[in-house]
Symmetry: C2
Subunit: 138 residues, 2 copies
C-alpha cells in the first residue's frame, strides 16, 4: 500500500477535509507506506523532524478528524496515552509492555470463538483483544 501525494490528496478530500499543508504532511507520515501505530506525541516529533511546523493541538485535531472519517482507528491500551492505528480493518494487537510499542496480530492468527450473551438491550460495538507481551525474563 504505497500512496503518492495525489492519492493522499484524494483520500483527504474524500473525507471532506481540506488538504492543508499540515494535514497533507501528517497524512504523508501516516499513510504513505504500510500500517502504522502512533501516539500524538510521536507523530508530533516525526513532523518536527521532517521539518514540518505543526502544533500539538493540530496533531490532536487531525488525529481525531481522521478517526471520525474512518481513516484511523483509536486503540486503548495504555491509560496514559492514546494510540492511533492506520489499519482500520478488524484485527487485534500485541502490546509490548516494555517498549510501549503496538503491533498488529495477523487477522488469521487470532479469533474469538464463542461470542458471549450480551447484556440486555445492548449490541456489540467492537471486540478488542490485546495480547500484552514482555521481553522474556523481565
Amino acid at each position: 500500500m504505497q500512496l503518492n501525494s495525489e492519492d493522499l490528496r484524494d483520500k483527504i478530500k474524500m473525507a471532506n477535509l481540506r488538504p492543508t499543508r499540515q494535514r497533507l504532511a501528517l497524512a504523508e507520515l501516516l499513510f504513505a507506506e504500510g500500517n502504522r501505530h502512533v501516539t500524538a506525541e510521536r507523530l508530533h516529533n516525526e513532523a518536527m523532524g521532517a521539518g514540518v511546523t505543526v502544533s500539538l493541538a493540530t496533531i490532536y485535531n487531525n488525529l481525531h478528524q481522521f478517526t471520525s472519517a474512518g481513516l484511523l482507528r483509536e486503540v486503548v491500551v495504555d491509560s496514559s496515552r492514546s494510540y492511533f492505528d492506520t489499519n482500520v480493518s478488524p484485527h487485534h494487537h500485541f502490546f509490548h509492555e516494555n517498549t510501549g510499542e503496538l503491533e498488529d496480530i495477523p487477522r488469521n492468527e487470532l479469533s474469538v470463538d464463542t461470542i458471549p450473551d450480551l447484556p440486555e438491550g445492548t449490541e456489540i460495538c467492537s471486540v478488542d483483544v490485546i495480547v500484552r507481551v514482555t521481553d522474556r525474563r523481565s
Copy 2:
C-alpha cells in the same frame, strides 16, 4: 463471597499492609460482597457517602497497593479513567460505552481459541478481551 471485618483485616495483613481506618473502610467497600469494578473517583464518592473521610490521594495509594498485592486488577478500557476489578482471576469484560460501566464476561462464555505466534523474544503477560457494547439503536 461474603467477608466480615475480621476477614478483611486478615486480607490486609496478609498483603503486608496496615489495617488503618481508611484502608479498612475501602476494603469493606471493595471486597465485602461480590465482585466490583470501580474507578478512583467512584470509590471516593462511595467512601464519602459512607461517612468515611478519605482523600483522593489515599484512594489512589490504596488502589495501587491493593493491585500490587494482587488483591485488585487494573483494567484499561478508557484512556481517561482507570478501572479496578476485584475479580483477579483471568476473565474478560463487557464495557458499556454509554454508561462507562464495566462488567465481567463469565469465564465459560468467551475464550480465545487460536494463540498467535508471539513476536521474537517475548512472552505473554496477559490477554485482555474487551467487548464494547452500546445501547441498542444509539
